[in-house]
């Protein structure tokens, strides 16, 4: 076995040292009755060639000729191969949580850089070292808002990603906090009148998508003003972080917490996971923040170095009083984002964001020419909802052509206007002009 270095001689010699006859003797502390008396019922061992052929066969069944025309929280983007090559360096990839900072400066400095990228893009003061995903980051933001305000009600826009809302509901089930959902208007933005009504002195926070699930750049400044007036926090959740290269930072528009995922930077879609959630907030909320944090300090010789810090918030110290139970998060995914963002840099991110918006506009034009009108009038980044007549039928038709277009809005909003025809579509730098034309004409055909 290539992963087990023990030869029969090794085992014999080691048993002699241990003073055991057989390996089985090492398990004598497990009562015989609790032992398994048969081999596990698993498929027989596969050699590497068989393994590759089996998994290649499985993978091939999911392969399509074109990038999907859907985002909805998980975005098809180009990942430069250099990201992966650096990521796969064993020193990064086979290290764990940096408990021993002297031999983990690589991971720690990279996490510190990740935190800085998150702060720069979101316009926030502090960031943690990553979360599981955007949905749990949103849920943790609501929990943090509850801790900070001591309030027990969370107001959520109906245009926040439905998966984020589901996870939020799961997390809040045990706290018993109330969740009030506010509808969106014809422009696809949160209904501000309804929001004003929902926000009150019991409200811990208001949560909006930015951009929201409908692809619309939501009314963050207005919502934040309402929340602030009521003493509540504002949480902006961003699933498509490339948008932050074109849109104002949530922190600049009044958000107190910015959460979401950096999947779009350096992480493949991978059927939805893993990808790095992010969590950023204002300085003053720092000690209520969940998750691990890297901080700068000095070593004995006065040289700058990095450590995990503020661990008194965490489970391994505070146990049941911790700010969260999260420990292992998305380190490697965060590193991928950090590398990709380093490559993009100031100019690259701006260009990429503008390119995405340009492609979305190109898609809009093509869809309009194909007779499919946009459903919402609000500003968009790289996603929009089009009325395609019968969205589920279009998805099925495109699937037969090997094109993934998977987000008929009615799955999440059965009662919305134009729900039957509403299809949420994304276009990114991967969707060139011909491909966009192909998509639009296939939708119509």
């Amino acid at each position: 076995m290539r992963y087990h270095p023990h030869t029969p001689d090794d085992v014999r010699a080691m048993l002699d040292v241990v003073g055991a006859e057989r390996v089985d003797d090492l398990f004598r502390s497990i009562p015989q009755a609790l032992r398994l008396d048969r081999p596990l019922d698993l498929p027989p061992a596969a050699d590497e060639i068989a393994l590759f052929s089996e998994l290649r066969r499985l993978a091939a069944r999911n392969e399509t000729a074109h990038p999907p025309f859907v985002g909805a929280g998980c975005y098809p983007h180009h990942v430069p191969p250099v990201v992966d090559q650096l990521l796969l360096r064993g020193e990064f990839f086979t290290a764990y949580t940096p408990y021993q900072p002297e031999i983990s400066q690589g991971t720690l400095q990279a996490l510190f850089e990740w935190q800085t990228f998150v702060c720069l893009l979101t316009g926030m003061d502090v960031s943690n070292a990553s979360m599981y995903d955007g949905a749990t980051a949103t849920a943790e933001a609501a929990l943090m808002a509850g801790r900070i305000t001591g309030r027990d009600k969370v107001v959520v826009s109906a245009a926040l990603h439905p998966e984020y809302r589901k996870v939020l509901a799961t997390y809040l089930r045990s706290t018993g906090d109330e969740i009030v959902t506010v509808p969106f208007g014809a422009d696809g933005r949160t209904d501000l009148a309804a929001l004003a009504q929902a926000v009150d002195g019991r409200t811990a926070c208001v949560i909006l998508g930015y951009p929201n699930f409908l692809g619309v750049v939501d009314a963050l400044p207005e919502a934040a003003a309402l929340a602030r007036a009521a003493g509540a926090l504002t949480v902006a959740a961003t699933a498509e972080a490339v948008s932050l290269g074109l849109l104002q930072a949530p922190g600049a528009l009044g958000a107190d917490v910015a959460v979401g995922t950096f999947q779009s930077f350096g992480n493949p879609m991978s059927f939805g996971g893993p990808a790095p959630g992010f969590f950023a907030t204002r300085e003053k909320s720092l000690r209520q923040m969940p998750g691990r944090v890297a901080g700068a300090t000095v070593d004995k010789q006065g040289r700058r170095g990095f450590v995990l810090t503020l661990s008194t918030r965490e489970q391994h110290i505070r146990r049941e009083k911790a700010t969260s139970n999260i420990c292992t998060n998305s380190g490697l995914c965060a590193l991928a984002s950090t590398i990709h963002l380093s490559l993009l840099g100031k100019r690259g991110l701006a260009e990429l964001a503008r390119l995405n918006h340009g492609r979305a506009r190109m898609l809009r034009d093509a869809m309009e020419r194909a007779g499919c009108r946009p459903v919402f009038s609000g500003p968009y980044f790289n996603e929009q909802v089009f009325d395609v007549g019968d969205a589920e039928a279009v998805v099925a038709k495109l699937a037969k052509r090997g094109i993934v277009a998977g987000a008929p809005l009615a799955r999440w909003y059965p009662d919305a206007p134009h729900a039957k025809g509403a299809l949420l579509c994304a276009a990114t730098e991967l969707h060139g002009p011909e491909l966009i034309q192909l998509f639009a004409s296939t939708v119509r055909s």
């Binding site: 995914c333 840099g345 100019r347």
Partner: protein, 487 residues
């Protein structure tokens, strides 16, 4: 050399990507001006080579399994197969959108289905959810299932019993679920005793959380009796599967009275540790808890696989734990390992992990103090009692190990051991490596007697000496700022 932060490199206008030109007629004119942001100040401006050098150099400041022994107790730092990485990167897996129609995702769904079946079999349960994003979220999920189970019976109950050897995530996850934590004292043999549980057990107790083998590496041999005590009062038994590596193919939690257990795929099934994740924490349950499992579930209908994603098909579900379908990329890697091992390889994993730990234990006995001399399985906990007189602590021993080229064991955990040194070699380490580690540990023990100051001055070899953690926490500097100066 010193490697500055990525923000401290570069030159204005440099860029490390090659992007398509923007559409010819682009302007952001269809966006309200107030929403549009100019380029983000502070972002780095680097060529591709500069980025490559930066991260190549940074990486060399890390210790990883690929560079040396990493016996970090309770973290199961086994070899991460490179094949698995190649497989997870197949375009059909890596480039698959979570909302792809089922007919364009059959391969991925089949893989999830088969992994679910294998995980249920390995731990002896009826069903497994793959959704949780990490072990800690698996715990949270497990407690949600327990809560849902009790709620369905009219009362969520109030308390969770947790032994004093438990991981911090156990009480934290309980608290997140609204449960009060009752800590149970382990016996002098490092085991939880039935009478302790009996004394604490009542009908307000929702569950007991037990790690087995526990964090001392000791098998909780009274587990069946404890489970009976808890079950008799209507409670459930939660298993923290962090130490599942010790039991693979040898014994199954589901056969011992556990009702629910989370896996940590990066521990037991060698998905990459990645500097701290991504993890994946599938939760296996007995049939009684299955109705509450979170979504999605993969079902096989004839020859076709399908995701159940909506509560209407599973009205008792606790809901969703993370977006989409879990950390699929980790499923590919874990499944690849299970496929390559087969039943015998899976069992050999536990056997060799336990053999390695006992080999180290035997050779360090006498040199380091063993607070619990009970038989242990895949890991062993020493302490610094024999070094203390010379003024050398567990921290010093750990730092000195760094100078010998090893990653230190887990230190100061479990909390029941003062100055704990928790060593978990894992099955992928060779006897020669263990011998070299033992020799280093012995050399340090000698040095602690002969020249304790040298031990306390460690580490001297890495790029940094001991770091000032107090300063980091007192004056937090958590991000780069222009002109930042920490020295």
């Amino acid at each position: 050399y010193e490697e500055p932060l990525v923000f401290e490199h570069g030159s204005r206008g440099r860029c490390g990507v090659s992007l398509p030109p923007p559409p010819a007629d682009f302007d952001a004119g269809d966006l309200p001006a107030a929403l549009v942001r100019p380029a983000v100040d502070g972002l780095p401006e680097l060529s591709e080579l500069e980025v490559v050098r930066h991260f190549t150099r940074l990486s060399s400041w890390n210790h990883g399994i690929d560079t040396g022994f990493y016996p970090l107790g309770s973290c199961t730092m086994k070899y991460n197969p490179k094949s698995s990485e190649a497989l997870a990167r197949l375009p059909g897996f890596a480039d698959l959108h979570p909302l792809a129609p089922a007919e364009l995702a059959q391969g991925a769904l089949e893989l999830m289905y088969r992994l679910e079946r294998a995980l249920s079999e390995i731990a002896g349960f009826d069903a497994t959810t793959l959704a949780p994003a990490a072990g800690a979220q698996g715990e949270l999920t497990g407690l949600m299932l327990i809560r849902a189970y009790h709620e369905a019976r009219g009362n969520p109950r109030k308390k969770v019993l947790i032994p004093d050897t438990a991981h911090g995530t156990n009480p934290a996850s309980s608290a997140l679920n609204g449960y009060a934590v009752v800590q149970l004292a382990s016996g002098p043999d490092g085991r939880l005793h039935p009478e302790t549980v009996r004394a604490a057990m009542d009908e307000d107790v929702a569950a007991i959380m037990i790690t087995n083998p526990n964090t001392l590496g000791v098998f909780e041999s009274h587990i069946a009796e404890i489970a009976a005590i808890v079950h008799a009062k209507g409670g459930l038994v939660y298993g923290d599967g962090a130490n599942m590596n010790a039991l693979l193919g040898v014994a199954r939690p589901g056969d011992m009275g556990f009702d629910v257990m989370q896996y940590n795929l990066h521990k037991t099934f060698a998905t990459p540790h990645g500097g701290g994740g991504p993890g994946s924490g599938p939760v296996a349950v007995k049939a009684a808890l299955a109705p509450y499992l979170p979504l999605p579930l993969v079902v096989k209908e004839g020859e076709r696989f399908r995701l159940v994603t909506e509560a209407r098909e599973r009205p008792a579900t606790v809901g969703k734990l993370r977006e989409f379908w879990g950390n699929f990329g980790m499923f590919v890697r874990a499944w690849a390992l299970i496929r390559e091992y087969g039943p015998d390889g899976v069992r050999a994993t536990a056997e060799l992990a336990v053999l390695n730990a006992n080999y180290v234990r035997k050779q360090l006995e006498g040199t380091y103090h063993l607070p619990y001399p009970t038989d242990s399985l895949h890991e062993v906990v020493f302490d610094d009692a024999q070094q203390k007189d010379a003024g050398v602590t567990t921290m010093d021993v750990a730092k000195r190990l760094i100078d010998h080229g090893f990653h230190p064991p887990t230190i100061y955990f479990p909390l029941v051991v003062h100055g704990a040194l928790m060593i978990e070699p894992t099955e992928t380490e060779s006897r020669e490596t263990l011998d070299a580690f033992v020799a280093a540990m012995k050399a340090i023990a000698e040095e602690a007697k002969a020249d304790p100051e040298a031990v306390r001055a460690a580490p001297t070899r890495p790029v940094r000496a001991r770091l000032d953690e107090t300063r980091a926490a007192r004056k937090p500097v958590l991000r780069w700022q222009p002109g930042m100066n920490v020295e």
